[in-house]
Symmetry: C2
Subunit: 179 residues, 2 copies
DNA sequence: ATATAATTTGATTGATCGTTCAATGAATTA
DNA sequence: TAATTCATTGAACGATCAATCAAATTATAT
């Protein structure tokens, strides 16, 4: 799976092959089919691993904070930091989510229960709690969550931005939006 | 190219083949190679076509407005409306941008001059003009543009949202952020 | 009407893909 | 120690792919 992550980052989903992954892992191609029921199974397990990694990291950072405002800040910082620190993991995750499809061709990014469910739910919960405690103003939590998630994802694509600078400014803008 | 767009939407970038596209266009596979120098060339031309379509639509809507605030609202509305109205085009565009790579494996979404340059520049220009005229408050235009672009892109992934509802709420949130 | 150029076909080519499988070695169990 | 399961290899298979090209067709120009 770690070899798959590397290969996905290097050549992309459309060009990745089992033989490439096998070579990277210093095993034979057949061994992949022995441990996984197929290429799709390998990809799915890799996706689960990547989602978990991100989820554990962000959850850890958020849990250590108390108030919704602090949790929201920690959420944004952790999301951006994870992306910056684990670039290979994140690229692989993007490659899978935006490319993999079910056998009947439904894209993973259209599936209801895709990777970021946990992360997304955590964010919505923070926003909701913040509204209950009157720390945040009145807005639609799902829309706000979409805005925040989008701002975090989009930062990956704007490669020429400075992380700390962006992080600080983004937190400031989001806070003026919700407080 | 229109056949390619349909095929990309149906089976995704990783599974699309020239013979599928040819069948959809009711031509032979060889004819594609006659008019395009290869699969990559076809994809690149399709990407240019898709980018132009979006760009023309959004530019038209924004140009008809006068003040930066009105232009910003028109920009968001037009972006969301285009995505909703031309879903097939948008999916194809996503498929290409997130999957295609240069011969040396550089992803298109990491390229400096990728699809949304015109759209992105227009947005930044609106924000800048709004700050000059004191309609908008002081913030980093590039970060704000990233937030807005991200919110628009992300809406595609949250499939269960209502467009008009989201559009209205998003405009409201963005305006409280910049005004 | 003829000649030339442009377009289109469809079969072919060579490469690569994911998967299967018999064979082999290593580890575990009895 | 013997028997049995587990792990791994690498070659082979059928399928599919993008690209090529000679032949056929159609359009354009003379």
């Amino acid at each position: 799976m770690k070899a798959a992550i590397e290969a996905l980052g290097e050549v992309g989903y459309a060009n990745v092959s089992l033989s490439q992954i096998a070579k990277k892992a210093n095993i034979s191609t057949g061994l992949i089919s022995y441990h996984f029921s197929g290429k799709e199974d390998l990809i799915n397990n890799t996706l689960m691993y990547l989602s978990q990694q991100e989820w554990f990291y962000i959850r850890g950072k958020v849990e250590s904070k108390q108030t919704p405002t602090e949790k929201l800040i920690a959420f944004i910082e952790a999301s951006l930091a994870y992306q910056a620190t684990n670039q290979v993991n994140n690229i692989a995750l993007i490659e899978i989510v935006f490319n993999a499809r079910t056998p009947d061709h439904v894209p993973y990014y259209k599936l209801e229960d895709h990777e970021e469910d946990f992360v997304s739910n955590l964010l919505q919960e923070i926003l909701h709690k913040g509204q209950e405690s009157k720390e945040f103003r009145d807005f639609h939590p799902r829309v706000a969550a979409t805005v925040i998630k989008g701002a975090i994802s989009e930062s990956l694509l704007s490669s020429h931005i400075n992380l700390e600078e962006y992080s600080e400014e983004l937190i400031h803008m989001i806070l003026t939006m919700v407080k």
